[in-house]
Symmetry: C4
Subunit: 206 residues, 4 copies
């Protein structure tokens, strides 16, 4: 499960760069062509950060468990479906904010990104719920109460990604993007938060 | 063998998303462009589910054996050939059901998908047959009778994928697709079935 | 070294399928379009088989050694350079034998493939030569004489790939392709040959 | 951390070859088309060598530590961001030196490559600095003084990549490329240098 999941994460995070293409340009205008692609670079960085944060959270997730069952493998596949999909709304977002899109397209693109991110929270909720009911699967020193408390994170994610999408659709696409970035920072900080609860944290084996 | 195979699965399942492209569209028509691509999303989801199920089955397959031999490595390469090919009939299927194809193209596409899926069953049959004749390779607690019984699964697969292809070709492409989806669900359920036979199932090491 | 190498092999063997594209075609002519691409499918299968054989050989190579040194890592990178390059001459070959090329282009494409394959033999020679001079690196039960004898394989490869290239350039491109396929079969058989020399072969850990 | 990082390296080094495309050409002019793409092959080889050297350095980096912490995982993600980005300036460089670019575009492309490479040195500095302040994370036989001394390498990298970029921008793009190649050779040699300091070097487990 770890090998397969790490492989998927490694490929998805690397595939993002494929969207960064040499801009078509007339001789002598490479610099201007690159500058025009700036929104694509921002979209790349946001999604790289997002996937990096998800990897850190997933990495911590797998350390909660002693081993995998068929049920966990299914939930993990569901979770990876969301991971694999991310480059697509990223590309849509990048295209909408470059020359190809108008304001309406940007609202569509932000909404699509937010809905994808919200949908991605569901398997995390399922993972924690599944584990909470099966204490025998928990790793050493992991309490059921700890796992149960973690459910607040995907729930917050779902609510606030949907809110960011609504913000982007009804108010302003740029505000929607800001809402999404705030959520990614939240997930980055709570990945840290989860680990702070364990008093005797040891460095893991590399 | 595990590392290489997991890498191939991780890449193929991720490459599927490359077929999801930002639709070419006029400014303000991104939403309409996305809606038009709906068959491509369905094809993506079907193939993601299909590859996920194959991974679960393959994962269970490798747990039957104690170690690899050159013969098993060859059969595994043959099996991975089928895995690697899947994005191609998927893309053909997606293209045929979007604007690019007419009814005849859809019959061709469904038949191609079904033939690929049927051909993919052959190495599984070879794997179980090879193992059945070499009990020394079996993992702890795995009986020859159990392995021999598993041969029914790829045989069912071959017959019913061919039937789905004939259905799609002679009767209706949509019925053919439904037949293929039913087969994928069957493989998903028998992956579970295989494991139910072992009474003292333990969680595997992650 | 194993993880990185297996990753590279898994990706390269999977990337081959990217060259298989849905043929551009008018509605109702998907089947004709697919048939026209037949040379691309042959090129795909040849290169899949070739990479599979190289992986088997590489897998056996890493079982000769007890551990890696900086020198072996460098030779391994050199070897992987050849592996990574293969999809490029494969695509050139496929294009030359489809509609895009005439007889002269086919000669160029076969020569390019043969030169790439010949160049790929060099790091294997270096690997065996390096190991022969450092018996301390050899795995349990592997003799220096065994390693020294293996040098015949890449030497044969270099000579016969060059001969196939000359055949394709001066005589007939199709003959050149046949020569290349014969060589791949030779490498497949000698991968087996190498392992037959060890009398007490045990199944490796998966 | 190792599995994920090795996956990213394996994919990035393999993706480089995707930029090598079959040249569009008239029948009979494949050879001329290939010859015209020569700068793309040079760019491919430079970036393959560059990524190979980074992998060797990263491989040695992970051997300095006993295990990973959240902080090291973050720095590692930052480091991988640079790795993942490399194919993009490589493609820009290749395009600028082929038919598509004039002298000004080449200066832009060399500057972009040099700035990327300079920016990539920052996380290495952070890694060594982080480790220096946490001796408990160091692997067996690794001294704090050794780690502290390594900081000279990324600092040299940053200064000299910036110098190469200035050279390419203000003086001559070709000189800038030469400067970059010299730096890659320097990193190749200091990867060796780092390991020479440890007197009782043992072969690592493969």
């Amino acid at each position: 499960m770890t090998g397969f999941s790490d492989g998927v994460f490694a490929i998805v995070i690397t595939l993002l760069v494929i969207e960064l293409r040499v801009p078509a340009h007339r001789p002598g205008e490479l610099l201007a062509g690159l500058a025009e692609e700036a929104p694509a670079y921002v979209a790349f960085l946001v999604s790289f950060g997002y996937l990096g944060v998800i990897w850190l959270n997933h990495h911590a997730l797998l350390r909660l468990i002693r081993g995998a069952t068929l049920g966990l493998n299914w939930i993990n596949l569901w979770l990876l479906l969301g991971v694999v999909v991310i480059p697509f709304p990223t590309a849509v977002l990048a295209a909408a904010f470059t020359h190809e899109g108008n304001d309406h397209d940007r609202r569509v693109a932000v909404l699509l990104y937010a809905l994808t991110a919200a949908a991605m929270s569901a398997p995390w909720l399922a993972f924690f719920g599944y584990l909470r009911r099966r204490p025998a699967l928990l790793g050493e020193g992991i309490s059921v109460a700890h796992v149960a408390a973690q459910r607040a994170r995907p729930v917050t994610g779902m609510v606030l990604y949907l809110f960011s999408g609504a913000l982007g659709w009804f108010v302003s696409p740029v505000l929607g993007v800001i809402g999404i970035v705030v959520m990614i920072v939240f997930h980055a900080l709570t990945s840290e938060g989860v680990r702070r609860r364990r008093p005797h944290r040891r460095a893991e084996r590399r």
